[in-house]
Each structure stands twice: as structure tokens, then as C-alpha cells.
């Protein structure tokens, strides 16, 4: 009964989406207030029914209702409760339902937090989001219904993929989807602006906080995925350049470019067409990611069920949404004015350089991701594009990116005197070159390491220039109280957010370079009691014992790590065999530290109590995710800028009960 209710609720949600996407849009075009006023209730209705539907699926998992095909394949009575809930989005159908739930959530959030916006804009934005919802809800209902029943009813479920029975992966998809789907808000604002033909500073100001919040979620989602891969997959890697990872990274890069471009459009009115194109691009890449993951056109370590019929559905949807929006762009963009002029050396130019760099990197990743498909389609044979290609590309572009990142915040809008900029950057240049030489030479480590030198130089360049920028900003303010006053001022959030996020990039660069340059790893065969020396530490293997988990058996090894005779870590790497899906899973033993991780994973039993083990020493690996978190905090600071929450000073207070139409008629 309840699964049918869920199915029915989903159908009603589709009806709501149909209303939401048509009537308010038509109303906004022929100026019918009654039709536009439908947008908000329809958004709420859609959210309500999707949430109800989602709750029904959660209930089916919690009560082990194996008459539902999806629950029978991915649920299990012995699954711990938290994983019964995360199992809802553990496979294709449910994760799409989560996608739709989050989309409806964003739609409602826009409807709730858009009281300062003209109703025509609100109704158009919500209508576009409704259109996207139609696509995904019908995809669910017609090709991947999670409520499909199954007879005869099995007594036990097929269990959740053991890889997914982990906290990191329980929260990774929702975060990632919040980011993916959040990009639909910027997309919808862009479409609404194109439809209305008004691409102005107000449009950029409305889009900015939404884009930033979505981008923060995407950042956190990607970090979580990478962190999970590191501790769960057992080979110490934290990024594969796998198509699915690239699919999440491309919208992030496009979103990053969009954030910066929006700032220029808001402040200076420039780059309007470019900004609108980036908004379309960021969400298009999110959709493309969904297609790549769900259609099985590429091989990936992420084993999702792939089905050509589903692939075709998403492809058609993709063509409608992306093709339609780009057609609208081609039609409307030529009429958009160019906006503020600027000199060759100005903050605008520097931001544009980085924008172009980010888009070029995105294009290269797209190319690398799709190259196997293109080769195959053209009959050139099978290829695979791996680490070296992507890494080379990154090593080529990142230094330029960071170079401009250092200069950007110091440069003035419109025109910057080159001599003045050079003076401000003198200290950063001296310090960064110094650090670079110091780190490249074999002083702190053995052998010459140019990458380490480069990374050190870039980080110091970035951090010094950020300090220089802060000093310049606070030159008329005294002491801590002056700083706090400035920090709390309206419009400061974006600045301090930028400062923090850029600092995060510096931390990230150090982490990524040091772990690849100075990390040590060893595959060994060890007998119980045997010791081994690695990276100045002594590892003693004390054998393996069998243990039992709630729904798995495990072999748990014990490894003591000593440094100069004192024990620094006790690691217990596990190798688990889950009872239903008998895939062996590794749980690495990790001793996490600020400047290094010690990482041990258990391989195979080699007989006679001997085991193969992998030992890793990973310097600064935490800085990768630390950098990511700092970047996200920066985004959060920018998104919570007080000016987004304040009513514009020109607006008169609205008396309670005044029809909203009147209240917003004066806005912008």
C-alpha cells in the first residue's frame, strides 16, 4: 500500500511540475498576475509530493519491504539502520529520487527566499526549475520506477553494495547532488534573464548567493568522495580521474568560473554574455555528468546499473535542456550590451584570464573523459586516458591560474597602474622565489624536487599577496576592532570569503604536491612478528585475527609503528567479507596526522600466517581535504554576506497583508 502511495505521490508531483513549468511562464510573458502567482504554491506542492514519495521509499527500506523490487535488490534485514536509509540512494532509482527531492527543495528555497524579487522573475525562474523537474520525474516514472513490485516476494534482500556501507559514502551523494542541482538555480536565473532580455547587475546579485551555496556543496561533496576513496579503497589514492569523478569536477570548475564572472557582472556590469554562458555551462555539465554515469557509455570504477534505454531518455532530455538553452542564448545574446569598459591591465582582465583558464581546463577534462568514446565512435579503436594526461594538463595550467589569483585581488577595477601593482607584488615575488629554491634543493629531503619548489613558490606567492591585499584594505583601520568592524560590514563577506577560499587553494597545492613528491609506499610480505623499516619508522606486523561485524566477517591485522623506539601508532587494517554480497572489502588502518598519514592496508593471506601488506607514508595528505574544507568555508562566508539578506535601502517597508504583487512591483 505505502509503495503505491509513493508512486501516486510521484505522479502528482509530476502534475505539479507540469503546472509550475507552464502557467507561471506564460503568465509572465503576457503579464497575467493570477497565473504568475501560481508559481509559489505549485513549487510547494511539487516539493510536498516528492518528499512524501521519498518518505515512502525510506519507509519501505526501514520495514524491509522486499515486495518492492528496488528494496529487494538493495536492502537487507541485517543492514544497520543508518545504511538502510542511505541504501535509498545506494543505486540508480533511489538516487534519482533523491536528485528530484533536492531539486524540489532548491525550488522551494528559491520561492521562499525571493520576496525581494519581481514576480515576473520569480515565476520564470521557478518555471524553468519546474521544467527540469518534469524531465527527471518522468525519467523516474517511465524508465526507473523505484516502487515497482516484485512477485514472488523474496525472504531476504540482495543487500547494499558493501562499498557503500560507509559513513563517508552515505553523505557523499546528497552533498554532491545539492551541488549539481543547486547549479540549476543559476541556470534558471540565466534562462529567466535571457527570456526577459534583462541581463543586469540585479540579475547577477540575485544569482550570486545561490551559485555560491551550490558551489560550496559541490566542493564538500567532491572532498568527501575523495576522502572516502582514500580510506576505503585501500591503495592510498585519493583521485582517479575516473569519468564519474570528472563528471563532478567539471561543474565545479565551471561553477568556479561562474562565481568570479558573476562578481564582475555585479560590480562592473561587464562580461554579461560570458557570465550567462557559464551559468548555462555549469548546469549543462551537471546534466552531462548524470548522463555519463547513468547511460554506461564509459567504463568507470563506479559500477552503476547502465541501460541504453535510460541513456537515450537522458540524452533526449539533455538535448532539450542544453540545446534549447543554447539556442535561446544564440538568439538573445547578440542584443545584450557589452557593459563596462576596462583597460588591458585591470582586475577585470585578470579575472577574465582565470575564467578562460578554468574553462580551458574544463574543456581538456571533458576531452579526456570523452576521448575513449570518440575514438570508439570513429572506429579508431579503444583507448584509455589516464593519470599522466590529466596530471600533465594540470601541471601546465595551475601555475598560471595561481599567478593571476595572486594579482587579481590587488588590482583595481577598470584600470591598474602596472608600476603600482609590481610594487605591491615585490614582496610576494621575493618570498615565493626564495621558498621555491629552498624547497627544490635537497635540504629538507633527498634529491632535487622541482615540483615541490614550484608548489611552495606558488603557495607563498598566493598567501603573501592575500596578506598584502588585506593590509591594503585595512590601511585606514586600526587594530583588531578596526578589522572586526570591517569584517562585519555589509559587502565584506565576499571579500573575506575570497581571502579564505584562496588561502584554501594554497593549502591544497601544498598537500597535493608533497604527497605525490615525498610519499613512500611499499608492497611487502610479512610474517607475524616481523618488522620493516619505511620512511624512518619501524612497522611491526603482529598477525591477523578473525572478527565478526553486524553483517560481515573480517580478518583484522595488527601493526605497531615505532619511531626511535617509541610507539607512535597502532593500526588495525581489516579485510571484510560481507555475508550477502561476498565481495572482499578493505578497511585501511590509518594514523592521521597534520603533517603525515601512516596508512596500512591488508592484502592477501599467503599461508603460514604470512600476509601481503601495503604500507604507505603520506606526508601532508590531509592538506588536500583541509584545503577543500577551507575553500568551502570561504564560499560559505561569501554566501552569507549581509547585503544579500538586507532589503535594498530604496524599498519602503511592506505592511503585513499587502499583496505581494504590489510589494514587488517597486523592486529593481
Amino acid at each position: 500500500m505505502i509503495p503505491e502511495l509513493g508512486n501516486f505521490a510521484l505522479i502528482l508531483a509530476l502534475c505539479m511540475a507540469l503546472v509550475l513549468s507552464t502557467l507561471p511562464m506564460i503568465g509572465s510573458l503576457n503579464n497575467t498576475p493570477g497565473w504568475m502567482a501560481l508559481a509559489r504554491p505549485a513549487a510547494w506542492g511539487q516539493f510536498f509530493f516528492v518528499a512524501l514519495s521519498f518518505a515512502c521509499l525510506v519507509q519501505a527500506f526501514l520495514t524491509n519491504d522486499f515486495s518492492v523490487h528496488y528494496v529487494a535488490t538493495h536492502g537487507n534485514t541485517r543492514l544497520p539502520t543508518i545504511y538502510k536509509i542511505s541504501a535509498v540512494w545506494g543505486a540508480h532509482e533511489g538516487s534519482l529520487l533523491l536528485w528530484v527531492l533536492i531539486l524540489s527543495g532548491w525550488t522551494v528555497a528559491v520561492s521562499r527566499l525571493s520576496r525581494n524579487l519581481p514576480i515576473t522573475v520569480v515565476s520564470r525562474v521557478l518555471a524553468v526549475m519546474g521544467l527540469v523537474a518534469i524531465g527527471f520525474i518522468s525519467f523516474l516514472l517511465f524508465t526507473s520506477n523505484p516502487f515497482e513490485r516484485r512477485f514472488p516476494v523474496p525472504l531476504e534482500g540482495g543487500d547494499l553494495n558493501p562499498l557503500l556501507q560507509d559513513f563517508g559514502l552515505a553523505v557523499h551523494p546528497p552533498m554532491l547532488y545539492m551541488g549539481y542541482v543547486g547549479m540549476s538555480v543559476a541556470f534558471s536565473f540565466a534562462i529567466a534573464a535571457l527570456v526577459g532580455g534583462k541581463l543586469d547587475a540585479a540579475w547577477a546579485r540575485w544569482s550570486r548567493p545561490w551559485t555560491t551555496v551550490a558551489w560550496v556543496f559541490l566542493t564538500i561533496g567532491i572532498c568527501l568522495g575523495s576522502w572516502w576513496a582514500y580510506y576505503e579503497l585501500g591503495w592510498g589514492g585519493w583521485w582517479f580521474w575516473d569519468p564519474v569523478e570528472n563528471a563532478s569536477f567539471m561543474p565545479w570548475l565551471a561553477g568556479t568560473a561562474l562565481l568570479h564572472s558573476l562578481a564582475v557582472t555585479e560590480k562592473r556590469g561587464a562580461f554579461k554574455r560570458w557570465t550567462v554562458l557559464l551559468a548555462l555551462l555549469a548546469f549543462s555539465l551537471s546534466l552531462l555528468g548524470t548522463f555519463l554515469v547513468r547511460s554506461g557509455v564509459l567504463t568507470s570504477v563506479h559500477a552503476f546499473a547502465s541501460d541504453p534505454a535510460r541513456g537515450l531518455f537522458i540524452l533526449i532530455f539533455l538535448c532539450l535542456v542544453i540545446g534549447g538553452s543554447l539556442t535561446l542564448y544564440a538568439w538573445r545574446a547578440p542584443a545584450v550590451s557589452s557593459g563596462g569598459r576596462f583597460d588591458l591591465l585591470s582586475r577585470e582582465t585578470l579575472l577574465l584570464c582565470n575564467n578562460v583558464l578554468l574553462v580551458v581546463i574544463t574543456a581538456f577534462i571533458l576531452l579526456g573523459t570523452l576521448a575513449p568514446l570518440v575514438y570508439d565512435a570513429l572506429g579508431w579503436g579503444k583507448i584509455s586516458v589516464g593519470f599522466p594526461w590529466f596530471t600533465t594538463m594540470f601541471v601546465i595550467f595551475t601555475p598560471f591560474l595561481v599567478l593571476f589569483m595572486g594579482m587579481g585581488p590587488l588590482a583595481r577595477w577598470k584600470r591598474q597602474d602596472p608600476g603600482d601593482l609590481a610594487r605591491q607584488l615585490r614582496l610576494a615575488l621575493i618570498l615565493s622565489v626564495g621558498t621555491g629554491i629552498l624547497l627544490a634543493l635537497p635540504l629538507l629531503h633527498t634529491g632535487v624536487s622541482l615540483p615541490a619548489g614550484l608548489a611552495g613558490a606558488l603557495s607563498v606567492w598566493l598567501v603573501t599577496s592575500l596578506f598584502q591585499s588585506l593590509r591594503q584594505r585595512l590601511r585606514n583601520r586600526r587594530g583588531l576592532s578596526g578589522f572586526l568592524r570591517d569584517f562585519r560590514a555589509r559587502g565584506s563577506g565576499s571579500y573575506y570569503g575570497m581571502l579564505v577560499a584562496h588561502f584554501g587553494v594554497a593549502v591544497f597545492i601544498i598537500g597535493i604536491t608533497f604527497v605525490t613528491q615525498f610519499g613512500v609506499e611499499k608492497d611487502v610480505r610479512l610474517s607475524p612478528g616481523q618488522t620493516l623499516e619505511l620512511a624512518g619508522r619501524e612497522f611491526r606486523f603482529d598477525g591477523v585475527e578473525a572478527t565478526q561485524g553486524p553483517n560481515y566477517r573480517a580478518d583484522r591485522g595488527t601493526v605497531h609503528v615505532y619511531r626511535d623506539g617509541a610507539e607512535v601508532a597502532l593500526l588495525k587494517p581489516e579485510k571484510r567479507t560481507y555475508l550477502v554480497q561476498t565481495k572482499p572489502m578493505t578497511e585501511a588502518g590509518i594514523d592521521a596526522g597534520f603533517t603525515r598519514d601512516i596508512y596500512v592496508s591488508l592484502g592477501e593471506a599467503l599461508g603460514g600466517g604470512d600476509w601481503s601488506l601495503r604500507l604507505y607514508y603520506k606526508p601532508f595528505v590531509r592538506w588536500i581535504w583541509l584545503g577543500g574544507i577551507i575553500i568551502a568555508i570561504g564560499g560559505l562566508l561569501a554566501a552569507t554576506d549581509r547585503r544579500y539578506r538586507m532589503k535594498l535601502p530604496s524599498r519602503k517597508p511592506v505592511a503585513a497583508g499587502t499583496p505581494r504583487k504590489l510589494a514587488t512591483a517597486k523592486g529593481s
Binding site: 539533455l318 547578440p334 568514446l373
Partner: protein, 179 residues
């Protein structure tokens, strides 16, 4: 006009991309072409399934177009495929040789008695040694060998009516006609 073309560029790029994605839907990225296609078939000598004392070798397949089908009684898809093999034996005008792969003699003979025997003869490869030489990674697999002993085609997975009519039979006809 050139002014407007600039704004059409993103759309054009997307259309090219969409065409490739559409093509991609009908391609399977997991299929790796067998390195053996276009090469002479690997030599083998095994006992016959029906008679442990008689032997069969690659020489039996030479000098004519022939088919080698890898199968086993433990393989569910092979049972699904069996019907198609009977059709192929009738329509293909080509001798089908079987490679009974990692199997046991008694149930395999039983299988042929029950389901019908499309094979000219069967080689019994209980250890899977010959399977390794032929690059078999799962039953069923079907090889087509031309008159000169060159492998011309490898079909992975069960034969279907579609693959029979569109790939296998036309290829057999071509190879039969060739000198």
C-alpha cells in the same frame, strides 16, 4: 552575420557532442576486441568428449570454414544459446566444433543427448588449458575460422537471432565463397 555566428558556436559544439553521445549509446565500452582476430588459430590437441580414447586437434578444423563454440554445462547462457546453435548448424552449412570448457564428461554428454547435438565433434578441455591459449574469458564464446586457419571473428556471449542473421551467417557465406 559573422556577429551572430559567434553566439551559435556553443550550440554547434553541443550538437557535435550530442552526436558522439548518441553513437556512444550503441557501443559497449567493455568489449575489447580479441587480439586473436586476424591471426592463425592456436594449436591444440585434446580428447574427444564422447570418446576419451580418440583425439581431436586444430588439424580437424583446417582446410575449410569452421566454427568453434566454447560451452559448458555450468553456464546458464550456454543453455539459452543452444537453440541458436541448432539453427546455425542447419543454416550455416559450416561444421560447428565444440570446446567443452572446464566441464565434466558425463553431464556434458547428457546435455547433448537431451538438448540435441549441433556439433560435428567436441574437444574436452577440463583443465581450461586450451581455453587460455584461445583467450577465452567466459563461456559462451564463438570463433569463426576461415579456410586458411585464420580466426576471422569472435563473438562473446550467447548467440542471438539478431547476431546470427546480421553477423554470423553473412560472414560465413562470404568466407565460404572466398578461395
Amino acid at each position: 552575420m559573422a556577429r551572430y555566428l559567434r553566439y551559435l558556436a556553443p550550440l554547434a559544439i553541443f550538437i557535435v557532442l550530442a552526436v558522439f553521445l548518441y553513437r556512444g549509446l550503441s557501443l559497449d565500452p567493455k568489449v575489447v576486441p580479441s587480439p586473436l582476430v586476424g591471426k592463425p588459430m592456436p594449436a591444440f590437441t585434446l580428447t574427444r568428449l564422447k570418446d576419451p580414447d580418440a583425439s581431436i586437434s586444430d588439424a580437424d578444423l583446417r582446410g575449410k570454414v569452421s566454427i568453434l563454440n566454447v560451452w559448458a554445462t555450468w553456464c546458464v547462457s550456454c543453455r539459452a544459446e543452444h537453440e541458436m546453435l541448432l539453427v546455425l548448424a542447419e543454416k550455416g552449412k559450416t561444421g560447428i566444433y565444440g570446446l567443452n570448457y572446464k566441464d565434466e564428461r558425463a553431464p556434458a554428454q547428457q546435455w547433448l543427448r537431451q538438448l540435441g547435438d549441433p556439433y560435428v565433434a567436441n574437444a574436452f578441455d577440463d583443465t581450461g588449458r586450451v581455453g587460455i591459449d584461445w583467450g577465452v574469458y567466459g563461456a559462451p564464446e564463438t570463433f569463426i575460422i576461415d579456410k586458411h586457419g585464420i580466426i576471422r571473428h569472435k563473438h562473446i556471449g550467447p548467440l542471438t537471432e539478431e547476431s546470427l542473421n546480421e553477423e554470423i551467417l553473412p560472414l560465413l557465406a562470404r568466407l565460404q565463397a572466398a578461395p
